[in-house]
């Protein structure tokens, strides 16, 4: 019998509904696990104990009385610390927002609360999502539960680690260029970057507004699909959300894949891709063949330019998004009298090196005389890239790529080389400028017990297709993984 924190959401819901376990027991199990693991892993920036247990008791009481309960009643979860939570701190992993308590809840928080999920903590991340290792966090690095010498990925590294070790049954991450998928790959869990506009961003502290997406990080595909069906949908407070119908994503997972086409991107299996990663992807290709899929080689020749375009637009938007951090209304405030000096010093002290780097380069890229060379050129590349990927979907149902070209680096390995860190995201950053959904899931394990992630990319709003392909893959390799 699994320990309670090891359960998937689906398993836990069944046990809760059959009253074999209580929400209090489940929440307590996760809190105990957090207490056990945190000294080593440091996935959480805030742990919510009393309120979580109180919420669990209320749900147990309602269940005893037979009162109606939400779809996720009693399920403990964590939030990346970029989501505004009324009454709890929201730091975005930056010193700039140390102690900041938002006076409102993000839409995703409201939606989960409405379904009676229980928030047990907020997780560590690179500041404002700036990073792929969680090493940039102002509050210390998070370690990878699979190998504590290694990074958990980022920027939603705390969420990845928490889900991997059982600190809550799922987490809500945020993905601007791989921030959900990278930690999912490094921590051996499932993470979805949904279609842009599928899930409301209201209350999510922005990195790059035209890339940012809100998505679930879970132990398996079913859970991921279930959580998406709860958090997706049009929001009147986010003008970029789509009215596209929300499907019951968890209910059509095992449709036959016979005759479906899987595109394999040749540029994504070339030089610079770790041999163990290649091996796992090739194994995945074999699995899809055995499921009756046709494998089609696809070329995305513009990937080379995609990374540059991604960063130019992303940090341009970020430089503007971070302009509101002035210490006047909230957040860190330098102890200086003159207001101009105060604001300068506030930013100097509050922003870490990665925030400063991105704000400065982004400001430059938008400046008169440079905007045409950088920002506008990057937007042209973005249009070509979009065209490139959408063309591929005329030939195939999904694209299959490694999530990350490498295995999780050792802590400190890349911190002196920001460019190398930026290049590590090559396969994930190409997706956000296009807006299509991408699902990261474990492809297989290395001989050292690390996980290799694979990424399934689908057309806009085809999350159901991704889940279908991923679920059947997960089912096929379940035995080999356990």
């Amino acid at each position: 019998m699994k320990r309670l924190y090891e359960l998937t959401v689906k398993e836990a819901l069944e046990l809760l509904e059959s009253k074999e376990i209580t929400a209090r027991e489940l929440v307590q199990s996760c809190l105990d696990r957090i207490e056990e693991m945190e000294p080593t892993i440091h996935a959480f920036l805030l742990i919510i104990k009393e309120e979580a247990l109180k919420a669990a008791d209320q749900i147990d009481m309602k269940r005893t009385k037979g009162e109606p309960l939400g779809k996720l009643a009693g399920i403990p979860y964590s939030l990346k610390d970029v989501y505004s939570t009324k009454g709890y701190t929201t730091t975005a992993g930056s010193k700039m927002l140390e102690g900041y308590i938002a006076p409102y809840n993000a839409t995703v928080v409201e939606k989960l609360a409405k379904e009676d999920a229980i928030l047990i903590g907020k997780t560590n991340c690179d500041p404002f999502g700036f990073g792929s290792s969680t090493e940039n966090s102002a509050y210390g690095v998070t370690r990878n539960p699979l190998d504590t010498d290694r990074v958990p990925g980022g920027s939603s590294g705390g969420s990845g680690a928490a889900v991997a070790y059982g600190g809550g049954l799922f987490s809500i991450g945020e993905d601007t260029g791989g921030s959900i998928r990278c930690p999912a790959a490094f921590c051996g869990i499932v993470g979805l970057k949904p279609t842009y506009g599928r899930v409301s961003r209201y209350g999510s502290i922005a990195y790059a507004s035209s890339y940012d997406t809100v998505g679930p990080m879970t132990k398996d595909i079913y859970d991921n699909a279930l959580i998406l069906s709860v958090i997706a949908g049009k929001d009147t407070r986010d003008a970029t959300t789509s009215a596209e119908k929300v499907k019951p994503y968890h209910q059509a997972l095992d449709l036959s894949l016979k005759g479906r086409k899987v595109g394999v991107v040749k540029e994504y299996l070339g030089d610079g891709v770790d041999e163990e990663v290649k091996k796992a992807i090739n194994q995945a290709i074999e699995v899809y063949k055995s499921l009756g899929c046709e494998i089609v080689e696809v070329s995305l020749p513009y990937t080379e330019y995609a990374i540059a375009a991604y960063y130019v637009i992303g940090i341009s938007e970020a430089s503007s998004n971070l302009a509101r951090m002035d210490g006047i209304r909230f957040g860190h405030e330098a102890n200086v009298d003159d207001w101009k000096d105060k604001i300068i010093k506030t930013r100097g002290e509050g922003f870490g090196p990665e925030e400063k780097r991105r704000v400065m380069v982004g400001t430059y890229a938008l400046s008169t005389g440079y905007a045409d060379k950088y920002y506008h050129k990057a937007q042209q590349v973005r249009a070509i890239l979009k065209d490139d990927i959408l063309k591929a979907f005329k030939k195939v149902d999904i694209l299959l790529t490694p999530t990350m070209p490498v295995l999780p680096p050792k802590i400190g390995e890349n911190t002196d080389d920001p460019l190398k860190m930026w290049l590590m995201d090559a396969f994930t950053v190409t997706i956000n400028p296009v807006g299509v959904p991408a699902l990261a899931l474990p492809a297989g394990n290395t001989k050292d017990g690390l996980s290799v992630g694979m990424q399934l990319i689908g057309p806009h709003f085809k999350e159901d297709t991704l889940y279908n392909f991923a679920y059947l893959y997960e089912k096929s390799i379940k035995d080999t993984l356990n």
Binding site: R201, G203, S204, I205, A239, T240, S320, R324, D326, I328
Partner: protein
């Protein structure tokens, strides 16, 4: 000032549109006289994670304004971020419009002593207002109630050649937005503000000068006029010394119109415009644009022209009536369904005696302005005299007594019965034989008889009729 230079001015006018909620959130947009920071939410307070959602009504009002200024409408319009720093700009950028404004390439006609002139409107776009900084004893306090209130920016071509043209244009714009119901444009409340771009060139030059001076945050037309006078003198003196004024932004020192250099060209703000990623492209259908077009009422110039043409109202009188919405609405309501001669006659009374009563006397609640039309009609019908009518109007205005009652009580109705008039005239002739003799020789002396008759009639008769009667009788 020498006649050898001419002014070149372009204007940016900001108008706060009258909407219930703010531009990008649902906060109450009516911030005037509200306690500081009570009309705020995560969006207009610029909190992390908050997102702007455009106000449909505000966009419609902007389209309406653009159409009224004869603009073309961008059927694909978008918002952009204008990045700059100021403590009362909570997000560190203002959401505005850059390269796809709602309206572009329009014009409006203005009228000055020189005649009618067309002023080009470069663009009409939608943006949001900032918060308010209150500087007090070396401290700065911030109030964000105004933050996010919808603003329409109307940018003109550099078409103005005199202060008078600028004034006429500003007044015309104020009239138009009021007619449209887009804004009250109350300058006291900061609902209409101006930015001046001004330079001088040698008369006869066709090209725009190589420099321009920008003056921001001008809160009223009268200050704007003073700034123009001040700048004219300042720039003229520089040019006369053989130099070119610096291209720069100047700020007002106080309300005298004097300005001081704030920013020169070299350190001009770089706004780093880029498309607002939080708001998708807005597509405006032709159908929607047409619908809005249909809601545009008769505008000031058209109304004035119609008053003159249709009713024969005097130009200045027409101008006075169309000046503001309440005035023309009152005028049109009291002259509905009456003939054009009466409309024209009422217009004179309306801007004359009635206006001065409104300005100087206390109006009784019972007084109804349509009585003015009745009164004027009676004057035309010669039922009362003009001078009595003035007194009746004043009394009615003060007391609220119906004009008919006043006429009756005071017996002011004119004698128009010919037999009564003949009786009186006959009596005057018999009792003033000497005067009649004189008048037969010298027609000027006849006026004495007219006066006698009018006195007998207590003035309640048409003097012309009495005069004619007396002259006819003298010829007999």
């Amino acid at each position: 000032m020498s006649d050898s230079y001419e002014i070149v001015i372009g204007l940016e006018v900001h108008v706060q549109s009258r909407t219930k909620s703010k531009m990008f959130c649902s906060c109450d947009a009516n911030y005037f006289n509200t306690p500081p920071n009570t009309h705020v939410c995560p969006v207009c307070f610029g909190l992390p994670g908050a997102l702007p959602v455009p106000n449909k009504r505000a966009v419609e009002l902007c389209i309406k304004t653009a159409l009224a200024l004869n603009c073309s409408i961008n059927q694909e319009t978008k918002f952009d971020r204008k990045n700059y720093f100021y403590p009362d700009l909570p997000k560190g950028f203002q959401i505005s419009q850059y390269d796809q404004p709602i309206g572009y390439s329009g014009y409006t006609n203005i009228e000055t002593k020189e005649g009618v002139k067309r002023i080009g409107v470069t663009r009409v776009h939608q943006e949001e207002d900032t918060g308010k900084s209150i500087h007090n004893n070396g401290e700065t306090l911030l109030d964000f109630n105004k933050s996010g209130v919808p603003l329409i920016e109307i940018v003109s071509e550099p078409d103005f050649r005199s202060k008078e043209e600028v004034t006429a244009y500003c007044k015309r714009l104020r009239q138009i937005v009021r007619y449209l119901g887009v804004s009250n444009a109350d300058m006291e409340r900061g609902e209409m503000r101006f930015e001046l771009n001004m330079s001088l060139r040698k008369k006869g030059d066709q090209e725009l000068p190589k420099y321009k001076v920008e003056v921001k945050n001008i809160a009223s037309i009268s200050v704007l006029e003073k700034v123009i006078e001040h700048e004219l003198k300042r720039q003229y003196e520089i040019l006369e010394n053989g130099q070119t004024p610096k291209q720069e932004t100047r700020g007002l020192i106080d309300m005298t119109g004097e300005t001081v250099s704030q920013r020169s060209k070299e350190n001009e703000a770089d706004y780093r415009y880029f498309p607002e990623p939080d708001i998708p492209l807005i597509k405006l259908s032709q159908e929607m644009i047409d619908e809005i077009k249909n809601t545009i009422p008769e505008l000031p110039q058209e109304k004035k022209d119609r008053y003159i043409k249709e009713y024969g109202i005097e130009k200045d009188t027409a101008e006075a009536i169309i000046n503001d919405v309440d005035t023309f609405l009152e005028f049109e309501s009291i002259t509905a369904n009456v003939n054009s001669q009466l409309v024209s006659e009422v217009s004179k009374w309306f801007v004359g005696d009635y206006f001065s009563l409104v300005n100087s006397n206390k109006r009784s609640k019972e007084f109804k302005s349509e009585w003015l039309t009745e009164l004027v009609d009676m004057v035309i019908q010669k039922k009362i005299t003009r001078s009595n009518a003035k007194e009746i109007l004043e009394e009615s205005f003060d007391t609220g007594e119906y004009i008919g009652n006043i006429i009756k009580t005071k017996g002011l109705e004119m004698v128009s019965d010919t037999s009564v008039l003949e009786t009186v005239v006959n009596r005057i002739f018999t009792s003033n034989l000497k005067a009649v003799e004189d008048a037969r020789r010298n027609p000027n002396a006849a006026m004495f008889l007219v006066g006698q008759a009018m006195r007998e009639l207590k003035g309640q008769a048409d003097a012309q009729t009495v005069k004619n009667m007396i002259f006819d009788k003298l010829k007999q």
